[in-house]
Symmetry: C2
Subunit: 235 residues, 2 copies
């Protein structure tokens, strides 16, 4: 299995420090030549490295060494920005759109609503050191947040707005983690090639009165995240 050997050779170069985070690998044709193989086999090796979270691909730009993943605790209220700063990372968030829509099937199910209910939908992309790492869609029940869309959603975090303008805080969260692949708009926003493997985190959030408030669907570049948490077990 040639491609495993090529993978190991590249891993060694990464671990020896010859290749550092964010650095671009040489062109596929050059790598293939240097390992005396074809592009197809070389790409097998690169896909393996991608699956292991050691490198990532930017669509049509090439392959890059992955930095350390962000440690992400879905049971903390800590928002992305504060979480990143606490880990000495440089976060940024782009607001893509915020609008009222009729529920999609997926959103209706997550929010426990009838089909075609009115909800808010907010799409954002979050960056670490200017690399897009997660595409987040929030579906929000509008009852408790009248006028939300008129506020400056680009300038403040949703959790801050909830708390400061509406007196709502998250008190309970139901979350689900699965693997999937990036396609279409989501792939594009993350500068990913269609089909790039990814991690999906779905969260359903409840307020201090146990009422369902909103949900968010997060598509993460899987090399950029490590989900970590601590739980006290009940007996």
């Amino acid at each position: 299995m040639q491609y495993v050997k090529i993978k190991d050779a590249i891993v060694e170069q990464i671990e020896s420090g010859m290749l550092s985070p964010r650095q671009k690998l040489p062109a596929e044709r050059k790598l293939a030549e240097s390992f005396d193989t074809t592009r197809v086999t070389l790409r097998e090796a690169l896909s393996l490295l991608e699956a292991e979270g050691r490198i990532y691909r930017e669509d049509r730009r090439g392959w890059f060494i992955s930095p350390e993943p962000l440690r992400y605790d879905p049971t903390q209220t800590l928002n992305f920005t504060n979480m990143a700063i606490a880990q000495n990372r440089q976060p940024r968030t782009d607001l893509l759109s915020a609008k009222g829509i009729l529920t999609t099937k997926q959103a209706a199910q997550l929010l426990e609503l009838q089909a075609f209910s009115d909800i808010y939908r907010v799409d954002r992309v979050r960056y670490l050191e200017e690399r897009p790492v997660v595409f987040v869609t929030n579906f929000i029940r509008p009852e408790k947040f009248a006028g939300l869309l008129d506020l400056d959603l680009a300038g403040a975090s949703l959790t801050d707005i909830y708390r400061e303008k509406y007196g709502v805080v998250y008190a309970k969260v139901k979350y689900r983690v699965t693997t999937t692949s990036l396609l279409g708009d989501v792939a594009q926003a993350l500068r990913a090639t269609s089909g790039t493997p990814a991690m999906m985190v779905e969260r359903i959030n409840y307020n201090q009165h146990g009422e369902l408030i909103d949900c968010d669907i997060e598509y993460w570049r899987h090399d950029a995240i490590s989900i970590e948490s601590i739980a006290q077990l009940e007996r």
Copy 2:
């Protein structure tokens, strides 16, 4: 992008119920012919379906439709067997080996031990409906479990043995979820091809007195698992 269209065509067949869980897809050469393409392109489409968790591959045996994933809550003490039964699945566990070893680097770190400490290592494979879905390695601090290796580890769950023979229960767990790929022994035990994408769950377990007891490293077929939990948020 031909391979996305092929993928969509197969998804449609799955969703229409023409293909049912555990069923084998036709041979790659036949599928390629029926979509009027080559094996390379067809395999692009199959890899996409694999990344989405809709199909899985058994090494040299072919591609199969994925059943529903097992819902897995890492914050519950519930062991694999009871979890599976509660979801109307048919679990089985194979004990591969149980022995005393000197810590590996990874185990030493997780168990907060010096290099070359004595620990127990238990390797098991767990099945659902006779399909191997997870490879589990337990690293166990031996102090609290004298004579553990002499017990019938194949016949009872570790948590049951801990509780019944040693009066030890899990009270706190630290866990971490990342993606990786299957290689070597682990791949083989799961009937997977080298490089198959997978989900890794690491758990570090503490007893009722807050002492570190053991850790386990789980390599899951990623289509076989959906990690789900509920958390009360502290403020």
